[in-house]
């Protein structure tokens, strides 16, 4: 495992332009979603409805797959809203939640390294920090890219699940729904 790597992939001008546009859109999207996250232990939780959070995660992954040149496959997305759990197993009755969001992409194993490099470039430009980065080798054929936003504390991960498929996931920190938060459409 390498945390982090400094390798960069080559890109053409057109591709670079598209990526810059995608990054700009993602910055705007994420900024709106996770603004004022707070960094102190007793800061209020970010307020966001489940539907807004799910829409944000979908949009983030859509930009990611478009930029790295892969497609989400036909498997159902896994979108789970879960109660926040304290360090002693306790939970508050106010509806605070986290999102665990997974989609998958059919990608030939020979392309996994390219995908993970491109994804790393995009996400680090966005300001996410790489916590795990691994390219495939002969002895370890799976790739892993785990990133985390240092302030908003959401994660974006890209992993090989097999030699022909990749998982892309987003997880959020604990979020607080506004009162009468609308139910998500899945």
């Amino acid at each position: 495992m390498t945390r982090p790597s400094t390798r960069r992939s080559d890109t053409g001008t057109g591709t670079r332009l598209k990526r810059l546009l995608a990054v700009a859109l993602m910055v705007a999207t994420l900024g709106a979603c996770m603004s004022n996250p707070g960094t102190g232990k007793y800061d209020p939780l970010p307020v966001k409805s489940q539907q807004e959070t799910l829409d944000w995660a979908r949009q983030l992954i859509a930009h990611l797959v478009q930029t790295v040149g892969i497609e989400i496959n036909s498997e159902p997305e896994e979108a789970g809203f879960h109660p926040c759990i304290g360090r002693n197993g306790e939970s508050a009755p106010d509806g605070r939640y986290t999102l665990l969001y997974f989609v998958h992409s059919d990608v030939p194993g020979a392309r996994h390294n390219d995908v993970v490099r491109s994804a790393r470039d995009l996400l680090t430009k966005e300001g996410l920090k790489v916590t795990v980065y691994r390219e495939a080798t002969d002895t370890k054929p799976s790739v892993a890219l785990w990133t985390r936003h240092p302030e908003s504390n959401y994660t974006v991960r890209v992993d090989s699940t097999s030699d022909k498929r990749m998982a892309l996931s987003v997880t959020t920190p604990c979020l607080m729904p506004p009162s009468a938060s609308p139910a998500p459409t899945q």
């Binding site: 109660p83 360090r87 197993g89 799976s142 785990w146 699940t161 498929r165 998982a167």
Partner: protein, 332 residues
């Protein structure tokens, strides 16, 4: 008006059923460990519906009642879910077991049929009133493992409050409770394996704190737990000197120990060496959380690693740790 106990035991959408052959085996395994069948549990609990008959003060009774109501609500929430993987299964419940600490075994997803089954074994200070939080945790573990699994594979995660967990740090140094619970845990695992049938499905034990000792003792004795993978989170010792004694391939024994987890200080005393040190064997997991209770922080890499193992995938690992001078094996 019915007591909450009555409401809970009367509500049994999936749990403890014995129509399917798998559930017969599992229910038998659970029964044999002391958990009563629904019809048997009705009687005692019906009679024990007040603080006086339970021997609890009003505050303790209210907390117990709230926990039961929450468990019932969580079961009800999934009762009409068509997808069995998202249903909850009540495998065993006895709030009065272990001198009132309580016993509860609950699954999310059908452990009979799942491609990947995980058993979560909690540790010190986890009692019946904490079961709702345990249910939230196993659902999140299931979601993470599902995302890492292959298409068509299913995941079930079981919360196993099936031994008498220590109530204090002082009690946590006593190996007796782990030893006392080992036979029950092995029988439970036997039941899971019988229910799974052939071909064998993938079985992972995920244990925290004193639960890692309880799992270690159960895995190393008798025929073991038949686990394909064992994850030890914040372990004070697993009752063995080396991973290979756990009757599971040591390459599939995974240890997660936060840098500031105080259990680092107790290895080698009463429960065995800290399993994160180099002489123990197994693999150390890359751990990005802090303290003894952070291993399942919402979006931590530590938690993601657990989901990958449950799904049969390779987690991210770190080197084993070298302790200057090793440890003094005074625990023997």
């Amino acid at each position: 008006m019915s007591s909450v106990y009555e409401l809970l035991v009367a509500f049994d959408p999936h749990g403890l059923r014995d129509s399917a052959k798998g559930w017969k085996a599992l229910a038998h395994a659970v029964e044999s460990t002391g958990t009563r069948h629904r019809n048997q549990v009705n009687g005692p609990l019906h009679q024990a519906g007040t603080p006086a008959t339970l021997g609890l003060d009003q505050s303790a009774y209210d907390k117990r009642k709230a926990a039961l109501q929450t468990i019932k609500n969580k079961l009800e929430d999934t009762a009409n879910t068509k997808d069995e993987e998202h249903q909850m299964f009540l495998l065993g419940i006895d709030p009065e077991a272990y001198e009132g600490d309580g016993r509860a075994i609950v699954a999310t997803g059908n452990p009979d049929k799942a491609t990947h089954t995980a058993v979560f074994v909690p540790g010190t200070n986890t009692e019946f009133n904490g079961v709702p939080g345990q249910i939230d945790l196993i659902r999140r573990l299931q979601g993470n493992a599902k995302g890492n699994a292959e298409p068509g594979e299913t995941v079930s995660v079981i919360s196993y409050l099936g031994y008498d967990t220590p109530e204090s740090l002082l009690e946590a140094g006593n190996p007796q409770r782990g030893k006392d619970g080992a036979d029950d845990m092995r029988r439970f695992s036997d039941g899971l394996r019988v229910a799974h049938g052939e071909p064998k499905t993938h079985l992972t034990y995920v244990a925290h704190s004193y639960g890692t000792y309880a799992v270690g003792v159960a895995a190393s004795g008798g025929d073991g737990l038949h686990a394909d993978d064992i994850i030890a989170l914040g372990s004070p010792g697993m009752g063995v000197d080396e991973a290979k004694e756990l009757q599971t391939n040591p390459d599939h024994v995974w240890i997660s120990e936060a840098e500031d987890d105080p259990t680092r200080l107790v290895g080698g005393y009463t429960l065995g060496p800290g399993p994160h040190i180099i002489g123990f064997g197994g693999n150390n997991l890359y751990t990005d959380t802090s303290g003894h209770g952070g291993y399942w922080n919402e979006n931590s890499d530590s938690f993601n690693n657990q989901g990958k193992i449950i799904a049969g995938k390779q987690p991210e690992v770190d080197p084993k740790e070298i302790v200057i001078g090793g440890f003094i094996p005074i625990w023997h």
